[in-house]
Symmetry: C3
């Protein structure tokens, strides 16, 4: 009498294709130098899901975010969930909710980020980071070329679209050599509710160098046009007010000393309004940190975030410590 019809039978799990349960938790302690009141134990992310292959060509992906600090309420909600048809390597299709295919930083799995936080520019300008839509993608880890093209609502998770126009987001990467991959991203959308005219255009460029134990990764994102101040930032980030034109970039270097220890340095800036100077909105940050891998499932991250103040000098640095376990 449940929704699913017949009652369970004992040998269900024998004939059913195997469902893979997966997830990870990221308990974290944040110490903010600015406001001493803001030091806390918390979760960065706490995810659990199921995925699997259905016959040869279809697959599913179903993931809940349970961290109380990511969504709009403190409860668990559906984050990524999609059906994929993967018969043709150069024209795979996915339908459902997933990350917008824009920027290497956004595309990096959330449990594989080299620093605890994504770059400010990715969190502020690639928003919504997740959305409803349909994507065509091609290539894989072994091909030089990879591409992603998506048509999406443009409004993010947990809501229906509020205008008739859909957004187009695309990204492509090319492996020039085994050590060097370059890529570009593009988005053209209609961010305003009940508005089919005001558009937003965003460009991104990325480079990834892997030189033995040293990895260097850099991105630049330029964004212009309409934006909706009621939209939320990526992954729980608080969105800042934007001008007509805005940009940002980061460069990050990490070095794998051995299998366990990986120091990392990141410099980044974000300018929410290219037409205003010295209004205090320009942000610069250096992150110094290290990753310690107990094994391939358990990682400890320690990051010092030095926010560089260009106008008024305030004590707003932060020290973040996170332990991650995957299953």
């Amino acid at each position: 009498q449940g929704c699913e019809g017949d009652l369970p039978v004992g040998n269900d799990s024998l004939k059913a294709p195997a469902v893979t349960i997966f997830g990870y938790i990221q308990p974290e302690y944040d110490y903010n130098f600015t406001d001493a009141g803001d030091n806390t134990f918390k979760f960065k992310r706490a995810r659990i899901g199921a995925r699997g292959l259905v016959y040869k060509d279809f697959s599913y992906y179903f993931m809940l975010e349970a961290s109380p600090f990511v969504g709009s309420t403190g409860d668990a909600y559906l984050m990524d969930a999609f059906v994929s048809y993967t018969k043709y390597n150069w024209a795979k299709v996915s339908v459902g909710t997933f990350k917008q295919p824009f920027s290497l930083d956004v595309a990096t799995p959330c449990h594989s980020l080299t620093t605890i936080d994504r770059s400010i520019v990715a969190d502020q300008l690639v928003a919504p980071q997740r959305d409803f839509g349909l994507m065509i993608l091609g290539g894989n880890n072994y091909t030089k070329f990879n591409y992603w093209v998506a048509v999406m609502n443009g409004r993010g998770l947990q809501v229906k679209d509020d205008n008739t126009k859909k957004d187009v987001i695309a990204r492509a990467t090319y492996k020039l050599t085994n050590y060097l991959t370059v890529g570009g991203s593009f988005r053209y959308g209609y961010p305003i509710p009940n508005n089919e005219e005001d558009t937003r255009t965003t460009y991104g460029a990325e480079i990834l160098m892997q030189l033995d134990k040293l990895a260097i990764q850099a991105e630049y994102i330029y964004d212009e046009g309409a934006y909706f101040s009621g939209a939320s930032g990526g992954c729980g980030a608080t969105p800042v007010a934007l001008g007509e034109r805005r940009d940002g970039a980061y460069i990050m270097a990490s070095y794998s000393v051995d299998e366990k220890i990986q120091p990392v340095f990141k410099y980044e800036f974000f300018d929410p309004n290219l037409d205003l100077k010295d209004d205090g909105s320009y942000m610069e940050r250096m992150t110094i940190g290290a990753n310690y891998f107990f094994n391939d499932k358990v990682r400890f991250q320690l990051n010092y975030q030095a926010n560089i103040d260009t106008v008024i000098n305030v004590d707003n640095d932060a020290l973040l410590a996170q332990i991650q376990i995957k299953f």
Copy 2:
């Protein structure tokens, strides 16, 4: 130190009875001709759960609905969850939350509906479709007779009852021949908060014919008495205002051309107030559609819903496309 006592041990999964993880997602694209602003990628449903047998006679069922468009918030919540005692085929018992045993359309598993939407009358009058309660049921797929009798709060999910009286809901079906099954449903309840006097009575009649590749299914539901305007409709439907007496019906025909292709036609009406004529509340709808089964786990549905306007003619048709994958 978790709630569950001892820490996990490695061979837990060996001795534990197998838990079956199951679920499905239904990514959908809706195009509404009425309000062009209302076309969107979304999920119809996104469910995940666990079920299994405990020794021979007990079973459990635990299912979360994660689609942001079904519950009262956009978050995941407990939909069906019940314990069953199934030792005696003619007196099985279930306790927990489950669908009210009323109407074939409501009883059809949500992943096996022939059209994307249930009938309007089932969504409007069999509300709450899910509820807390205790049910006694008998029969199975191989018996001619099946019955369900439930005592339920009458208020739906996520809330405690708000009056002392409980609702009684019952349904019975009888297989006259292999091709023809008839059934009836009944509900007697107290829908108003803090009110132990005003009652609601509902009757349903159903017929199901399966003639080789052709299936014809029809239902009529009549409902009278008190109703609570604050209650929600079935499965995310928006409830309309009801009069003292209301009814509705549908007839649906589908034809399985082969294993993959199944066209479907449905005609339905719903009259929210039998005592008012030409007030514009009467609804008629034709649904023309087709199901395409890629395999037994993946289905594509395309439905055109033609809403027939009897008073003023407005362009309020809709085209719905849904892909469903089960696991």
Copy 3:
């Protein structure tokens, strides 16, 4: 394109370490003699989670509470989730969310409570019962001594800390003989938002006797100092207003007639304000009940709660019936 990087492959479940899915549901019927309007089918708890070992020394625990009557909304949310490092039996470490290590009653797994409700004093004074933090613990079921020391936010689940001071909570137990275990608990915290000065101190004493089929368990908790009236009680309990000093205790006796039947009796009191007499806030309750174990996974509980009124006599007893199934 999900957050997790590569798409699923078929043999994932073969190489992955086994994830144990576990949980339980507790459908319940409450009949309140006070207010007849308050009788209802409901869930006490409905939990599902995943746990497992990662290599030898790390483990994870991830549990959602899906009962609509426990959290702040009716939706599913993350309850206990932690990473543990268990290499050293006398210095195991856990980070994440878990129950405060205070009181035997609180430490008892929620599916193993001898009565349906915890003691009033534990629900009222050990609040928040669950919290974010870091815990060091030592011992196990086979050692005479066990201890737990935690540093926690002191504010509970789903929120970040709102002051810079952390709470310290500790508990230790010692098995004097095979039949007799004694223990003590301590908490020192800063319960007020944006307040680093007002403190709260709590002491607990516990005793557990297991004499063949008879088990007797008793606790006393004394609590003084600041408290925050906006905080929530344990496990869905409604918090009452507290004075400067408050205490409470319970004694519970149960007798295992055989493997299936276990009658239980509990007497308890709770005084929310030791400095006020006869103001009607003092509570006394007797619980008479029985547990029936169909098997090791399925339990039926029937409890009669007689609330003893010392000032005005009101008819506020309750009869609770619960069926629990574990998986």
